[in-house]
Amino acid sequence: MIIITKIIAILLALMVISKSFYDYKRKRESFVTFMFWSLAWVFIVYVALVPKIFYSFATKLADQNIGIGTFVGLAFIFLFYITYRVYMKAHRLEQQIRDIVMRIGIKDIEEK
């Protein structure tokens, strides 16, 4: 199971980094954005390959041994929050685009 998780993490990282590089080459995103996502995913792969890093991090952070479950729980809360924010923003943008398109659509219609 641990090996599968590592393989999935590597494959996902390769997908995201290659997509980000493709977008950068096509000038759809900046070099800074490309570097940000590349480094973020390199870090994720590193954590997936060396999960023990959590233990040393937790010891330094809380000066005590906290379980890996605490980290996973915190990660879930954080990810759900991010997903919620992204969903709300996308939903709002979609509604705004829809309103604009509809208003433009009937702009020239006047009673004859």
Binding site: I97, R98, V101, M102, I104, G105, I106, I109, E110, K112
Partner: protein
């Protein structure tokens, strides 16, 4: 009474001209008849063809979906001061001769929304579509509480009162079910009138797929959960 025929269209360049040519200029009970085509970001010549024969063309610069096109059509109809809207599909499956009996219950103040139902005489309709339509009726009832024998019919007549009261949000094909649900929520009188459908290879190919039903169901649930403003 001012009647407006609203036709949402997406990539219907091949047939839209022939559909518009069949639109009646006079209908019993209506002082005027006007046609609005809503071009929903078509990538073919739908806009140019519609502009030749329709009284008005509302143009979406990008494709939003059938429901969004209907909302735009209603807004355009209100803007020109319509009293009754009749909706037709752009693929030519609806016979304009049915418009008169569709608006009759509204003129006689017996209905606010009239659905042209294909299910009371579904002869000629492919069996898979009959099954799909009845499934959608059940899904509509579960998600909105509204009932009709043909919730997915594209041929409807809607009074000005209903236009002003309904708060449509659906951008895709789930708008059909949403209208039935809004009739219930807004306490509007809904009636059904049997209509004949013209099935051609073109109109059969244009219909919704069964797979789309799941998508519609989840969107209707989302609308139900998020509630009306």
């Amino acid at each position: 009474m001012k009647l407006t025929i609203v036709i949402p269209a997406y990539n219907e360049g091949k047939v839209i001209a022939s559909v518009l040519k069949l639109m009646p200029k006079k209908i019993k009970g209506a002082s005027s008849v006007q046609t609005i085509v809503v071009n929903d970001g078509s990538t073919d010549n739908t806009y140019d063809e519609a502009a030749k024969y329709a009284d008005y063309v509302a143009n979406h610069v990008i494709n939003l979906g059938a429901g969004a096109a209907v909302i735009t059509g209603f807004a355009a109809a209100k803007k020109i001061g319509t009293d009754v809207v009749v909706m037709l599909d752009a693929d030519g499956q609806h016979n304009p001769k049915n418009i008169e009996k569709l608006i009759e219950p509204i003129i006689n103040k017996k209905a606010d929304i009239v659905i042209g139902t294909r299910m009371l005489n579904s002869k000629g309709m492919p069996a898979i579509k009959v099954f799909g339509n009845w499934s959608m009726n059940v899904m509509t009832f579960i998600t909105t509480g509204g009932w009709s024998t043909d919730t997915q019919s594209g041929m409807r007549a809607i009074s000005r009162k209903a236009l002003d009261r309904m708060q449509l949000q659906a951008v895709g094909f789930e708008y059909c079910s949403e209208i039935v649900g809004e009739a219930k929520r807004c306490k509007l009188k809904l009636k059904e009138v049997p209509i004949q459908t013209i099935y051609t290879d073109y109109s059969k190919a244009k219909g919704q797929s069964i797979v789309n039903a799941i998508n519609i169901f989840t969107k209707l649930l989302a609308i139900r959960i998020s509630g009306k403003k």
